[in-house]
């Protein structure tokens, strides 16, 4: 029997342990009944277990009639019985019955989880939330442009056309949203998978016909969306002249069911473009049909030019090219000679002179060599410093464009702008956002705080410059430009590295960059789950003078050591049975609020390495001290098991609510929100969206 009980504990680790725990405090008869229940559960006797539930209910009633408290085990037995139901439908009915009987928090959580984990239930919930969020999205987007304090509404006092602009924006946005209303959502993708899983597991469930209909509807929608996405990817690649990717996507779309009609026209265009590319590539590999040949008078010098160039000796190249240019002024090979002169000078290390000769050669647009040299000069590989200049110029232009005209120019804003222009003509320029002073100021502030434009082009060009020309006199300047670009991009580590590589870096700026780097690392340290000890230690070790280092030190101090189990005072107060002989075996007076007889502090009890550490208030006097009590192996194992069980129950029954939402917020379906965004300051009401409750969101994106 003991072996059977042990087996039961292994099979049902969480609940059975509770059961035994509760049973331990009851009399022998109840313990015997619990043994029987567990045996019936292990033997899989569903009918007998149902009888057990009835018997436990009767026993509770009997105890109640005698004025005694109920055993508190009936809900556990009911939950065990539900697990033995043969079909999905029966199991769900049994779980609902468990919940109807108001079980204890742990059983309630387990039953709710079982119900929610059902695939069809999850799919239904996802679709319901999706429907709600779509509707709420349409309503909110309709209301948002009419926000009572938005920049445009404020300026409407000066010009009523602006209000008309907001109305047009609202209508245009709603039209676009309604156009996309039926688009396949992530939730629908996930629901489709869950519905399919239900039918695979339980093809005979009573919900099967309804589920099959949903699968057909969502499956058709998904196939259409897949076709649309694949064709769109192919079209995007084709428009970007990325013919290899275009061919891949469009050929893939061609093979999808019912998608050939949409992809074939684009596929034909891709084939034509590829043929054109192949012909163009082939053309540049051949000489012209009527390649000019030098006149007799210039033949010898031209040949000398060729020989010197083939041999690649700079002095011979310069001499032959100079001689040719001197003796054959006006020759059709003049540009070729200038090109050779430029290469000779470049190879000899006379870079400035080489550049002058190249510029001379590039001016001759009539000759093929002149055009070739012009294209060389235009390529970023030729002049790396100019390439950095160009990238920075683009960055400045894009930033200014963002500040003055706003960041987005999508279908919605295009429709909005076009509608305004159509409605009010030239005066619409006022409401296109150019004069939204608040918007400009807001975007200016945002651009100053977080660069809205990518710095990658500047970074790539700068890094390439340093790799290729590490000894250039321009190196210090490039380090400075890279430090700025990396700082704007938020990559403070690289910014610091480049800034330190400059000849006279300012300690003040180094300190500022170190501060930013440390702040970022601290932010990263708390991002994934628990605090990242390595990152915190790195902040303390390498950036010890920063403010973030102080915070990191504090967080490190608060981190539990490896292998430690911490039971804070509030956990012990919520689970007083932990203090009993089957748990930590502590004096209950440690929690009675009287410091004179010993009192646990908030840090509570820590179990580690075969001992128990108690953080106690000093008495008399302020402060705390740690008292360490060695435990026998058996006592430690018992205390550890009880602590783990209490912590698990606490985790299981914790309220799953967003930290930033209020307690009664779920009962209010509306919100009022203020935003400071691209369009200025805006305050507007809206319908609350439902939180995405999917656990594996990325699997369905």
């Amino acid at each position: 029997m003991r072996a059977l009980l042990l087996l039961a504990l292994l099979v049902l680790p969480a609940r059975a342990a509770d059961l035994i725990g509760e049973a331990a405090s009851a009399d022998t008869a109840i313990e015997e009944r619990v043994r029987l229940v567990l045996a019936h559960r292990l033997e899989g006797k569903a009918e007998v277990l149902s009888a057990d539930v009835t018997a436990f209910e009767a026993l509770d009633e009997e105890r109640e009639a005698k004025g005694l408290a109920p055993m508190g085990l009936t809900d556990d037995v009911r939950y065990l019985a539900a697990g033995l139901a043969f079909t999905r439908d029966a199991q769900r009915d049994a779980l609902r019955a468990v919940l109807d009987a108001h079980p204890d928090p742990v059983v309630r959580k387990c039953a709710e989880h079982q119900l929610e984990a059902d695939d069809a239930e999850r799919a239904d919930r996802l679709l319901e939330d999706d429907r709600h969020n779509r509707r709420a999205g349409v309503v909110n987007d309709f209301v948002r442009p009419l926000g009572v304090f938005s920049g445009t509404a404020f300026l409407a006092v000066l010009n009523p056309f602006l209000l008309a602009g907001s109305a047009v924006d609202s209508v245009a946005t709603t039209a676009v949203n309604l156009w996309h209303y039926g688009r396949l959502s992530r939730q629908e993708r996930e629901a489709l998978v869950h519905y399919r899983t239900v039918l695979e597991r339980e093809p005979r469930t009573s919900d099967a016909p309804e589920i099959a209909r949903a699968i057909r509807r969502l499956g058709t929608k998904r196939a259409a969306a897949l076709c649309e996405e694949t064709v769109a990817a192919g079209k995007r690649a084709l428009e970007a002249d990325d013919l290899d990717h275009a061919a891949f996507y469009l050929a893939d779309a061609h093979d999808l069911d019912g998608c050939a009609r949409k992809s074939d026209r684009l596929l034909a265009r891709t084939d034509e473009a590829r043929a054109r590319r192949a012909a163009r590539d082939e053309a540049q590999r051949w000489p012209a049909d009527d390649a000019p040949f030098p006149r007799l008078a210039e033949l010898e010098d031209y040949r000398a030019l060729l020989v010197a160039t083939a041999a690649g000796r700079p002095s011979s190249m310069i001499s032959a090219a100079s001689g040719f240019l001197e003796r054959h002024d006006g020759s059709r090979f003049e540009s070729s000679a200038r090109y050779v002169l430029a290469i000779g000078r470049e190879l000899a290390g006379h870079h400035e002179a080489a550049r002058d000769a190249l510029a001379d050669a590039a001016r001759d647009h009539r000759s093929a060599v002149g055009r070739h040299v012009a294209s060389l000069l235009a390529s970023p590989d030729f002049n790396r410093l100019a390439a950095i200049d160009e990238a920075e110029r683009r960055h400045r232009r894009d930033t200014l464009r963002y500040v003055f005209l706003g960041g987005r120019m999508d279908g919605r804003t295009a429709v909005y702008s076009a509608a305004q222009l159509g409605a009010t003509g030239v005066q619409a320029a006022e409401s296109l956002g150019i004069f939204n002073v608040l918007g400009v100021l807001t975007r200016g502030w945002q651009a100053w705080r977080h660069d809205p434009v990518s710095n990658q082009a500047i970074i790539d060009r700068g890094e390439e410059f340093l790799a290729r020309e590490p000894d250039s006199p321009e190196t210090a300047g490039v380090h400075a430009r890279l430090a700025d670009a990396y700082e704007r991009a938020g990559n403070y580590g690289r910014a610091l590295m480049h800034y330190r590589a400059m000849p006279d870096p300012s300690p003040k700026r180094i300190a500022a960059l170190e501060d930013k780097l440390a702040d970022r690392m601290l932010e990263d340290a708390g991002r994934s789950g628990g605090p990242d000890r390595t990152l915190l230690e790195a902040i303390v070790h390498h950036l010890g003078e920063t403010k973030a280092a102080d915070k990191a030190r504090k967080r490190l101090r608060d981190l539990p050591g490896t292998g430690e189990t911490v039971l804070s005072r509030d956990v012990l107060e919520a689970n007083p049975s932990l203090l009993g002989p089957d748990g930590l075996d502590l004096d209950p007076r440690l929690l009675d609020g009287d410091r004179t007889d010993g009192e646990l502090a908030d840090a509570g009890v820590t179990l580690a390495a075969g001992e128990m550490r108690l953080t106690l208030y000093n008495s008399p006097g302020p402060g705390q001290h740690v008292e360490t009590r060695p435990l026998s192996a058996e006592a430690y194992a018992r205390a550890h098991a009880a602590a783990e069980e209490a912590l698990y129950a606490r985790l299981l029954t914790a309220e799953r609510r967003d930290g930033d939402s209020g307690r009664y917020e779920r009962y209010i379906p509306f919100f009022v929100q203020g935003t400071v965004g691209d369009d200025g300051v805006s305050v507007y009401p809206g319908v609350k969206m439902r939180r995405d409750r999917s656990e594996d969101r990325e699997l369905y994106e």
């Binding site: 540049q284 041999a311 235009a378």
Partner: protein, 300 residues
């Protein structure tokens, strides 16, 4: 009307009134060439390029310059047979040499040396140099089994090592270094591929790849070597997960330690600005990170 100057200023300030970004003259770059000097000029410009530290040059249309020059010279010979034969032959041999076809390059130089050309002396010197490279390149790279393959690679590496020493300080040293690096990478790949058969295979494979990373720290292929080390660590982590598939045999810390080593390597390259391997590394990091997350989720 009063608004116009203000609007203009704003547009100018936003850069809309500025000149458009410069771009290469694609039409010129793709057009058939008229003068052989255009081809020779491009080739000569890049004859001394350091192909060990930097990738081969591209022409403005994005094609590999040495391959393009070679095919242009071959087509010149077809279109105008015999015209400027010695110059075309010499340049062709130069292009072949840069592309690592040493035996063909030696033949090309020999033909020019045999003709009464002003390039004959230069061709003879080049032939002598390239012949030594061709001899080393002709040595076998594989054997009947792993040991024989590694021994063959060792012999070939010795030959190239000798050439690296001989050509030190010349523009040809980098070609020898490129070849030496290729062979060392090949040897490391053989060890990695056969690590399960070798004694302490994982350790030996790691050492081989780490040696590659340390020795060729200046190479343009360094990010690639780091990625390969990451791949090895990733394989080791996968091996661990497969060998300890049963839940109670799986130790999370052991797996995480192995997986994180792979992720560290991928991340190094994924954050390496300007490295051509950066997008590939970002993809591998994301893929392996997803694998790690999925394995951990399976066992929690």
């Amino acid at each position: 009307m009063r608004r116009s100057p203000f609007l203009l200023i704003l547009l100018l300030a936003a850069g809309l009134g500025g000149p458009p970004a410069r771009a290469g003259d694609a039409t010129g770059a793709f057009a058939p060439y008229e003068d052989l000097l255009e081809v020779l000029g491009d080739l000569t410009w890049h004859l001394r390029d350091d192909l060990y530290r930097f990738p081969p040059a591209k022409d403005p249309t994005g094609h590999d310059l040495y391959r393009l020059a070679l095919s242009r010279l071959e087509n010149w010979e077809k279109r105008y047979p015999g015209r400027l034969r010695d110059v075309v032959g010499y340049a062709r041999a130069e292009a072949l040499e840069r592309l690592g076809e040493y035996a063909k390059a030696a033949d090309g130089y020999a033909q020019v040396a045999a003709e009464g050309s002003p390039l004959a002396d230069a061709a003879r010197a080049a032939r002598e140099r390239v012949a030594a490279f061709a001899d080393a390149a002709a040595l076998p790279e594989d054997g009947a089994d792993v040991d024989a393959t590694l021994a063959a690679l060792r012999r070939k590496l010795d030959a190239w090592g000798h050439l690296v020493e001989r050509s030190a300080g010349t523009p040809y040293e980098t070609a020898a270094l490129v070849e030496e690096e290729r062979l060392e990478r090949l040897a490391a790949a053989v060890v990695v591929r056969n690590r399960r058969e070798l004694q302490e295979g994982n350790l030996t494979a790691e050492r081989a790849l780490r040696f590659l990373v340390q020795k060729h720290a200046d190479s343009r292929n360094l990010p690639d070597h780091i990625l390969r080390l990451g791949d090895l660590y990733a394989d080791v982590a996968r091996d661990y997960a497969e060998a300890h598939a049963r839940p109670l045999a799986f130790e999370e810390d052991e797996f995480v330690q192995r997986a994180d080593r792979a992720l560290e390597m991928y991340r190094k390259v994924a954050t390496w600005d300007g490295a051509p391997q950066k997008p590939e590394a970002q993809g591998r990091f994301a893929a392996f990170d997803a694998y790690k997350t999925s394995v951990l989720a399976r066992y929690r």
